[in-house]
Symmetry: C2
Subunit: 220 residues, 2 copies
Amino acid sequence: MRRETLDDNLTQLQAMLDEMAPLVVTAFRNASTALLEDRRRLAQQVVARDPIIDGHRAAIELLAVETMAVHQPVVGPLRSVVTALRCSQVLERMGDLARHVAEVVARAPEDAHPLPDQAHPLFVTYGARVADVAEKAASVLRTRNVVLAVELDADDDLVDAAHREVFELMFGPDWTAGVPAAVDTALLARFYERYADQAVRLAEHVVYAVTGGTPDQVPI
Amino acid sequence: MRRETLDDNLTQLQAMLDEMAPLVVTAFRNASTALLEDRRRLAQQVVARDPIIDGHRAAIELLAVETMAVHQPVVGPLRSVVTALRCSQVLERMGDLARHVAEVVARAPEDAHPLPDQAHPLFVTYGARVADVAEKAASVLRTRNVVLAVELDADDDLVDAAHREVFELMFGPDWTAGVPAAVDTALLARFYERYADQAVRLAEHVVYAVTGGTPDQVPI
């Protein structure tokens, strides 16, 4: 048996991240679908599958630590290993946030919509924007396309706008769904926003690995 | 100049964690005080100081990575280094949550209490319980006292009870503070709960480092 090289390990780390990221994107898509379509079973699945995502993170952490201990990488390769560690953390956190969304759906009473009807149209748009950001961030992670990462800032502004619209609706005179519904809606809106925010951070870590800088410093 | 040994680095990592943890405990105490006493300036300070906490995390990460690369620790020492990495992440997240509390206070309108009067007594108790958990977790980190870590589970139950009481108040018939206040209160209640939850995780990481197991497996 030949001993694994540093390059083997770096390739393996990247493959593990590329395996993990789609799970996290899917978790959010499913949580969002479960919310919009009142699908409790789907929500329960997202919750039940979160430990898989956590397991991916643990496996990546283990290999990253082993790689550092065995190969003592410096400069570029060291940056890649540290980036893999960080990306796995961010992905785990995104998975947690998707799970939080799913938990709201899973614990809604049988006879109630987890999302008030009034907020439904806003969350259709909001969910699609957040899913786009996540998709794009996963693609930055896979392709190392730094220019795509720069686009994410503008996409995140759209997410923030959707977030604000939800609060304007709840705090406006037309909100008739009451306090408990407002509380759930506010938490959901926040989970969406945090999830997208973490996706942007994910892309930033990749940019750091590629260029040593942040997206602001990338010439386009 | 003598080269630093693995033991030097492990000692240094522990010292850095012991330096970081009190900042995170104080951030929460100050955020909670700012909330209860309507002190915007204090809240702004918590927000302004969060980058210091983030800086501690970055410094710990750097030394942990360097330690792994240079000394290739195995078994016990490797566990210590990985634990330091994880603890620094958890502490940073606790700092973020304290900042989130402070941000609610900092952005409240001049003429309004950030916390509705009705919720005030509950948050006095709630804040004290969360601060106790954080204090105890920091002490577990400092002293490696595994028995203390086991106590944290019961303390966390008290935190969860306080969390539930806030929601019972908001969803009950006596809530007169309206929707926007309920939304802020719900977010605050969640930040408190998440902060305590992360403190419990912090202690769990220490237990792992000491025993290789989780608190459930510690014989007392």
